[in-house]
Subunit: 627 residues, 2 copies
């Protein structure tokens, strides 16, 4: 890697339209001069990357005398550090600028390709790491969103000490860095002067950018399986092919294939793919060695969607590149391998536990076990799915393709450990018409190690991942349960019989608490005891009965909130079973969710709510994860 | 409030031994000089608090010419801001120091009294708020802990750009500020020079410090009720006096008092306090107006512990100061008012739902509803308590007294909304022999409002609260469920049949994952399939059966971890009921906790574990909150 000299960096930056300082270079033994003061003096050597660390920099030099003195001091410090300048080394004198110190950078990330960094500069970079990440393809608004993710972004948002700074020149500089052809660049500091930002020190690594040119696939038919086949059904209950067959035994448009079986679950079993009627989607649970041949025969039969349950590929160190090639060659879409299957169009083409009801949740996951866990929870909690895609190794179809192909109206929820083509994921989310919500595992080194050991996925730089994903508008979830919910609530009412619980939940959703108007407070005061909270959370006091809950809820239902959480704690007067009835005997316009805190006293009510098909929560943290 | 002039601040600081800059003062029209360069020039006026905001400061002046120029510029800027200097105003010329910019401050907090602030200085204070809080009574180690809570503390911990700074002079300066008699002080910046820190700008508000002189009570007998009485029992099931009587109907050493009843739950009811046998603890659920008289009569009978259930005092805007006075006058200890009661020495003197088993958890709470919720949960989850104190309004005995009086060996867990005597809380935790773990509600404005409306408590400055509490060694809990657990685990093993769940939990407890040795890995490899993770979390693969779980757990039990979480997800081969048997049929040396993720497929196993008295979890987040 060639260490680019400071003057060469300035030439390169200037060519890209990036503002650089006034500077002059001088031979090591030559006279030093400056045309305006103050200036900075720095040693410039192909052998030195970090000048400051060697004492090779002197700042705020106000006159010729100080400049000469600085030269002596620098040479002395270099000598102490064991560095002897030679004829290849030069002095560079740059004009000294004053203003806010910023940081700009360019990196090449294995997941996201070229990414721009912006933040507070100077020593602050190391101390506070107040940095945002901006995609090289980000538009102006996305750049502004990124800048506002930093603390130093306050200068441009609400101003600082009474002065509001124009973000325009910052955005423009980011845009120049988006276009500049470098491998790595560290501009620190960039001084924000009254005339705009000026790069006053920079390091650069030349080279070409990583490009990621795979196009996004638009394949909405993946969500519309109609006539399906399971290749590799089994009559052995401990086999995956049995579970898949069983989950689809009631579907007349689902066919079974196995050369060694005649009948299964009262259905004919076809010996070969060729014998099948026309189908659109095939699920394969056959040995790895048989896959290629089967896929080709399915493709020849014009099957579009191929879901590969079979494991033992990348996660086991074996090549799976042939799958992507087959998909491209035949124009088919491959989900998997190493996955739990898909649930779409009401068809449960998974070997997951039970079949959840149809509903609005879209859930795409890299981990099959997480799919199994959340499906089982959904069955228990009466949560319905529109689409579940257990994406597995994503040899062909990946998250980006799935988001790009989704045409429905509900949020798309993702469980991600690591992705290989980050640019495409950003593009897909940028273009998505629905909210994209992501739980990203792999924040810590321990988790990245765990993720790698079970899928072979590189989880990547978590901070960069979340920064970039947020700037394209994705929501990062803190709780995996949040992936089980299809709505997005902004204005939430809380009714509670416990002030403590009201306080705790206020901390959790302070930005979503719907503020009550005086008229709304007055209408509640008519039915509530004198000491109710007159505030949201609506604390209806510890001795609240069924009647009081019902009255408060009926009035609150007309307030126009997005959702009402009804928190019930097991206090002395609390008839939890009776209060539970409210949620299945009364219709409400607002989405209403009971939150039953405790344990023993709530068991019967919870069981009844489940049997009545009501979604309820047992922890405040669980409830808020669904908002 | 008198605006103390910069020179007066320096005089005051110098008198306290705090290093101040070389400075000289000059009349407004007089000549300006300096003995060494560079210097800073500032206007000094009784009418100006924030000089910088008016442009009244010029820095880095290198010679007489620049000094004169700066005077003109300052006068020009002041004029533009509409400020006309007069004969009371002066110039102050201070030596310009270079080094790291720090911030030191002194505040008087309504909760904690005098508190010292330390952090990164300059504009950084506003931008990054990298501040720690140090108690005025903190010793050297606690001061060091505080400093290391800040980012700028890195300079003193692991060093910065290769230079490690000595924290000694910082600690010494904090100690001087602990002793200085001021109301408020803002030293910003303090420059850390090679000779130590120098305050180069400061604002001060004179006045005396808030003192909190209430002594800590040592009253271990509060945890040892033996012969008890319930004053105000009732035969009406909807009354609190009924619930309390019922919860204690089996205790021959618990007596009932009510002038209108003869018998209740087959026990004699005494008409008056005077008729009771000798008791040590009385629980009062009688009307507010009758309290004072009853307490006096109990005190005369030499009753030591008085628990007041009765509500309607401070939370209803009514004075409760007489309770503290009665306690002091008669040497008794009053818990409450407005509380759920206490559970101690195996006696359930609460009207909470059900009676949890005896165990090791100590739980002191400001909210009765939170006590009710966690008691009910504990009953359901087989968690046992040593002590529960529903502290209510804490008119007499407060959290500090309780911590100070606890003589057991297990952690003390607190739910706090707001406290009035923060100094005592810090003193008690500083002196505690057991870990103190705190869930603090009121991080957000919304929650502070909710807390105030239901208890009249001021939740205070959350950041200061958590900062100070951490520096005295308390653990701040993020999940309220963590209050239900009596242990502290440092080395945790995770066994899982799902790599995804292993990845997610690794993010949650990355610092507690017990690292496996090669010998341990080898011993597990003998019984696990080839592709197991060879790492903690021990991923025993999705097709793990009862036998594989048992083998892995039996081996891991010998590794010497503090706890083993056994994560089970409902995968195709997972016989959850059979796996559940492991936890009540096999003894383990290590504490072992099943974590059953999902819902429908886990219900039967969970029910069985409950009936077998096994503590288990249904969410990863719940499990880790107990570690």
């Amino acid at each position: 890697m060639y260490n680019v000299l400071e003057k060469e960096v300035y030439q390169c930056l200037a060519a890209a339209g990036v503002p650089t300082p006034e500077y002059s270079c001088f031979p090591l033994e030559g006279a030093l001069t400056a045309t305006s003061w103050p200036v900075a003096l720095k040693i410039m050597s192909p052998r030195i990357v970090h000048k400051s660390d060697l004492g090779g920099v002197a700042l705020h030099l106000n006159n010729q005398e100080e400049l000469e003195e600085a030269r002596k001091n620098i040479l002395h410090r270099l000598c102490l550090k064991g560095f002897t300048p030679d004829s290849k080394d030069e002095w560079i004198v740059t004009r000294q600028y004053t203003g806010i110190e910023l940081f700009f950078g360019v990196v090449q990330d294995p997941v996201f390709g070229k990414v721009i960094l912006f933040g507070a500069g100077g020593t602050t970079v190391e101390l506070f790491r107040d940095i945002c990440y901006i995609d090289s393809e980000a538009g102006e608004q996305e750049i502004r969103n990124g800048i506002l993710q930093t603390r130093v972004g306050q200068y441009f948002a609400r101003g600082f000490r009474g002065i509001k700074y124009d973000p325009g020149p910052i955005v423009a500089l980011v845009q120049k860095l988006q276009r500049i052809e470098v491998r790595e660049l560290d501009c620190n500091p960039v001084i924000l002067t009254e005339e705009g930002p000026v790069v006053v020190d920079a390091r650069m690594v030349t080279g070409t950018c990583i490009t990621q040119s795979k196009p996004l696939k638009f394949i909405p038919e993946i969500f519309r399986p109609q006539r399906t086949a399971i290749i590799g059904v089994s009559s052995h209950p401990e086999k995956v092919g049995y579970a898949l067959a069983k989950n689809n035994s009631g579907d007349p448009d689902c066919y079974y294939v196995n050369p060694h079986l005649d009948k299964l679950f009262d259905k004919q079993v076809f010996p070969r793919v060729e014998d099948l009627p026309q189908i659109d989607t095939a699920v394969l649970c056959i040995p790895p060695a048989a896959l290629k041949d089967s896929i080709v025969r399915l493709a020849v039969k014009n099957v579009k969607n191929v879901v590969i349950i079979t494991a033992g590929f990348r996660e086991a160190g074996r090549d799976e590149h042939f799958l992507e090639e087959l998909a491209a060659k035949y124009g088919i879409h491959i989900i998997g391998p190493n996955c739990l299957g898909i649930y779409a169009n009401g068809k449960n083409l998974t070997f997951g536990p039970g079949t959840p009801k149809a509903g609005d949740v879209n859930f795409f996951s890299q981990s099959g076990a997480i799919v199994a866990e959340l499906m089982d929870k959904a069955v228990y909690k009466n949560i319905g799915f529109a689409n579940i895609i257990s994406a597995g190794n994503m040899a062909d179809v990946d998250f980006a393709d799935l988001i790009h192909s989704y045409e429905g109206a509900h949020p798309v929820n993702l469980y991600i450990e690591g992705v290989s083509n980050g640019k495409n994921l950003l593009r897909a989310i940028r273009g998505s018409k629905v909210p994209v919500r992501i739980f990203k595992a792999g924040r810590t080194e321990a988790a990245r190690k765990a993720a790698f050991s079970h899928t072979g996925n590189l989880a990547g730089n978590y901070e960069m991942f979340t920064g970039l994903l947020k700037s394209v508008g994705a929501t990062m979830m803190r709780d995996i349960n949040g992936l089980l919910y299809p709505y997005h609530f902004e204005k939430v009412l809380v009714i509670t019989n416990a002030g403590g619980a009201g306080t705790v939940i206020s901390d959790m959703i302070s930005d979503k608490l719907y503020p009550l108007s005086q008229a709304q407070i007055d209408s509640l005061s008519k039915v509530l005891p004198k000491h109710w909270s007159k505030n949201n959370p609506i604390d209806i006091i510890g001795d609240a009965t069924y009647e009081r809950y019902l009255k408060a809820l009926t009035i609150a239902d007309s307030f126009g909130a997005d959702a009402i959480l009804v928190v019930v704690t097991p206090q002395f007067m609390t008839d939890t079973n009776k209060i539970g009835e409210i949620f299945y005997t009364h219709p409400f316009r607002t989405k209403v969710f009971p939150v039953l805190l405790g344990g023993e006293k709530m068991e019967t009510a919870c069981r009844r709510l489940r049997s009545e098909g009501v979604t309820y929560f047992e922890e405040l943290s669980e409830a808020v994860s669904y908002l």
